[in-house]
């Protein structure tokens, strides 16, 4: 099945969502007024655009995550075979994790992992 299964699932999801939205298009009609399209902010007109830049804290998480994610990717094949290989694999992994952990500790110490 493979790719075809994925294809079917994707199409099913699209049909499902599109069907629902289509039905709602068919059966509803909205009233129109000038305030309707404006962003909701507790009933007060907004000031400024929301699309302004954010604080640095948000993306440092992403960076640290990304690097850990890569690490994870290497762990999967390792995990599968570690039982067979035994301690050498464990030691390799301990090294691997240790090295990354240094980075993690560094990030921690630098305060990169603080939400701002």
């Amino acid at each position: 099945m493979g790719t075809i299964a994925l294809l079917i699932l994707t199409i099913a999801a699209i049909i499902f969502s599109a069907g629902g939205i289509l039905v709602s298009r068919l059966f509803t009609k909205g009233s129109i007024n000038t305030q309707k399209g404006q962003p909701y902010e507790c009933g007060i007109p907004t000031t400024g655009t929301p699309w302004s830049q954010f604080h640095v804290g948000y993306y440092l998480y992403a960076i640290v995550f990304l690097l850990f994610d890569v690490e994870l990717v290497f762990m999967y094949p390792w995990a599968v075979v570690v039982q067979k290989i035994g301690f050498p694999a464990l030691i390799e992994m301990i090294f691997f994790i240790m090295i990354l952990f240094i980075g993690f500790l560094y990030a921690h110490k630098k305060g990169a992992l603080k939400w701002m």
């Binding site: 099945m1 299964a5 999801a13 939205i21 009609k29 993690f104």
Partner: protein
Amino acid sequence: MISLEAIKNAVQSWLQLHIGGTLALVAESILLGILVITLFAVLGLLLVFMERKVSAVMQIRLGPNRVGPKGWLQTSADTLKLMLKEGLTPDGADRFLFNLAPFMIMIAAMLIMAPIAFAKNFQIWDINIGVLYISSVASISVIAILMAGWSSNNKYSLLGAMRSGAQIISYELSAGVAVITMIILTGSLSVNDIIASQENGWWIFKGHIPAIIAFIIFMIAVTAETNRAPFDLAEAESELTAGFHTEYSGMKFALFFLAEYINIFIVCAVAAILFLGGWMPLHIGNWQAFNHVMDYIPSSIWFFGKTFLLIGLIMWFRWTFPRLRIDQLLNLEWKYLLPISLLNMLLMTIVAILKWYL
């Protein structure tokens, strides 16, 4: 005994016999599509209803009980109403992305379904890297949320999206490590192999303390990943009104709502597969008679039973705990869960290498 497997085989052979070849494949595909859509709808309705009832009983009240017999049609009415509600698109929004986001989140939810074994030999795609596949596809939904939050042109949405972005990616790590911890034991990523390896006992029993720790960490992490309370910062009502889907209405909102519940189902299914043996019946040591009785319960019931049990657990969390603050949430992950789970993984390696389980 009627099992899903038998039905599947019957349908398959019938199709082969009467239509044959490529057409059978096509027919099967269509059937599959219909099946998953129905599954989606039914699961969504069921889970939402379950949530409302569970919360009601915990909160010493009755919950929906007036629409349809015992209130069973409540969620149907809700869905129908949401379908019949106007789907707004705010003026300032990026229309294309705004409308794409619900599709994305649905596709992500749907795709994760593929390798889940609902019953013995009943699975959409027996992919050899099952759990890895699941954790990979699950990460798509982050993008959908970021998309939804950004395109809404709303500050609450954006804040909510940023929060959930950081939250989901963070917790993906410890969820992943917890999964890896179990994979060390199973030695395979395939869902079927994982389940098969638990024939004589579920990992949560066999795997000693590391398995239990991994289980706890996994449950916490997936709760966070699905944006459920106590980690529901993305849609924290009291802070950001409705978070990243503040501007969504009608069916598009319903899709987000539905996807949330489907995701819960999926993560609980994964937990059931990894820790509780998926559709494996409960076997206790050498109690032959007991094991036999257990075998008689269809595998699908085992699977759904376990999954719903875990869903119940997650709901229990939700209705008990206050919400964390965003920095605490991330602290919890980076300071506690991730180091602990990494350590736990190494511990598990030792257990596995020394073959202490069994």
